[in-house]
Symmetry: C2
Subunit: 319 residues, 2 copies
DNA sequence: CTGTTAGCGCTTTCAT
DNA sequence: ATGAAAGCGCTAACAG
């Protein structure tokens, strides 16, 4: 591969200094219309391509954004959510000439965060699954955005609203004994649904029937069994993940309980197969890629403020 | 944030030259045990962290690996496969101090490939969905690995074997009139299953019954209807994606055709919900993350040779 | 508005 | 085995 043309060649060809060429091509600093024209032309003729790495080094900025998920399970990236987030972030990073790296963070992640901050190849950090304490332990001097609630910059999905919409839908359909297979405390994403459920039940004067699950079908089965034995007259079961809902559906089918006639069921997330199975799973869909994209963008821009994305209820046949 | 220690400080503290410090810390070039010890100690005491960007610039290498998928649909990244591949690649890239950028490539992608090659921030390209012509159009002087068949470096899933295993399983269960909902020509990943099907049917002396679909439930429904009207005595339907299989299952259910008693069905890929629904979908599972990881690694190492990963049949209740 | 000149932090010849 | 010095390609003060 023959040597690629550099800024110096462009400057020479345009008859201006290196600095001027840099100014017009990078868009920073002043430049007369005349030289701007000259430099542009020279760059085009020479097929000049800036060298992002050199630029970043000179500016002291990093080359990649780290997308980190804090979770109890080291396999957290295997969740359907993980891949979608990675894809969204990588798309956004690409627009900035950067790349994204994935990291898994244990629940206690102070050390890891410090490591990330010390890595000068890191341009920004996008954090998911954090709690209050994590946010406070965030090293200063590191561009950060969050996926999920936080005071700083980032993006989030309004899962409280989405979950509430699902509950309201059930209520409208006449369901009054609604049970929840919620998530464990450490699962940050499960907090909003749990609170939305508690609030709705309280306000509507309905009984609070919650058991703890996670995001697997196995725990969905377990949850359903517990619910049916503790509250046999339950007429709806809401869950925090589609897989959990699928587990619930299994138990219901085994026991000859009709869905949605006897018991309605809802999932959460709208994974690929949710709409393809029969009965189609009522759930809420989340623009995960766009959320990750927005968070990535926010981290890079250093813009403060949270952007909230909708959690849209998708009514199918299980309700 | 106070200024971070650089190599010069380490060298000074160790009482050696910058060059020597560089040699021991980067592991390239000779160094006496004595100075090695000195430099290591100094680095540790100072909490020295190398600056990856500077290193990469000095070496003239890029900072990110581009993961590009060639497809007819610009939305290709939204496939379940996309996110998993992105996650795997980002994990591998991270280990090398790099990041991953995602690109969509149209079927005719020569221009795009040239662009990628001209971008000096690109350390390597991992290509998926390519065909023969694409491989030949690959710009020289660019580290490349493929996900999918190729003569060079990369990783692939042995989907021919996986699909054949599924067919053999059906045959063992006594199925003799097996129909295929295949993929369109342009969908590279559909080639191996199609050929495996054609070959198996021929060798077993069974009738060849194939219709064209894609990776959606809608085309699965359409495919199933076509198959049932053209070959009403079909006793098994194999597909190239779980969503397609789900579509097939819908049509079968609508018509009161029992699964697997009357007709067996198989999917392909083992998406998250495949095992959670009832009847559980028989399919083949693919270590997509590990494949992307291996391809990424291969591209960065510049190591030639393809690594083949198994496509493992997962028998559940639809067969 | 423009040119000169130092860096950015590390690698890598080239002598010694 | 080691050191001096020349880059890698670009940006950003600083003068003018």
């Amino acid at each position: 591969m023959d040597r690629m043309t550099d800024l110096a060649s462009v400057a020479a060809r345009a008859g201006v200094s290196l600095a001027t060429a840099s100014r017009v091509l990078s868009g920073n600093g002043p430049a007369s219309a005349a030289s701007r024209e000259l430099v542009r032309a020279a760059a085009a003729e020479l097929g000049y391509r800036p060298h992002p790495v050199a630029r970043l080094l000179a500016q002291g900025r990093g080359t990649r954004v780290v997308l980190a998920i804090r979770d109890r399970r080291p396999s957290a990236w295997a969740d359907p959510f993980g891949g979608r987030a990675a894809a969204g972030a990588a798309l956004a990073a690409d627009r900035a000439g950067l790349g994204v790296a994935l990291r898994y963070l244990p629940l206690d992640c102070r050390g890891r965060l410090a490591e990330i901050a010390a890595d000068r190849s890191v341009a920004a950090l996008v954090l998911a699954g954090h709690d209050r304490a994590t946010l406070e332990a965030l090293p200063r001097g590191l561009r950060v955005a969050t996926i999920g609630p936080s005071a700083g910059a980032g993006a989030d999905v309004d899962s409280a609203a989405g979950f509430a919409a699902l509950l309201r839908h059930l209520h409208d359909r006449g369901r009054r004994r609604i049970a929840l297979v919620g998530g464990p405390r450490w699962l940050a994403a499960a907090g909003a649904p749990r609170r939305a459920y508690a609030r709705m039940m309280r306000e509507a004067g309905l009984p609070h029937r919650a058991v703890t699950g996670d995001v697997t079908a196995a725990r969905g089965r377990l949850g359903a069994r517990r619910i049916l034995s503790r509250w046999p007259d339950t007429d709806a079961i809401v869950t925090i993940s589609d897989a959990t809902a699928a587990g619930v559906l299994q138990v219901l089918a085994e026991r000859g309980i009709r869905v949605p006639d006897d018991v309605a069921v809802t999932g959460f997330d709208d994974v690929p197969l949710a709409g393809a199975i029969r009965p189609g799973l009522t759930t809420a869909s989340h623009p995960v890629e766009r959320i990750a994209e927005a968070a990535c963008q926010a981290a890079l821009d250093g813009s403060a403020g949270m952007r909230l994305f909708p959690s849209r209820a998708v009514v199918r046949q299980t309700t």
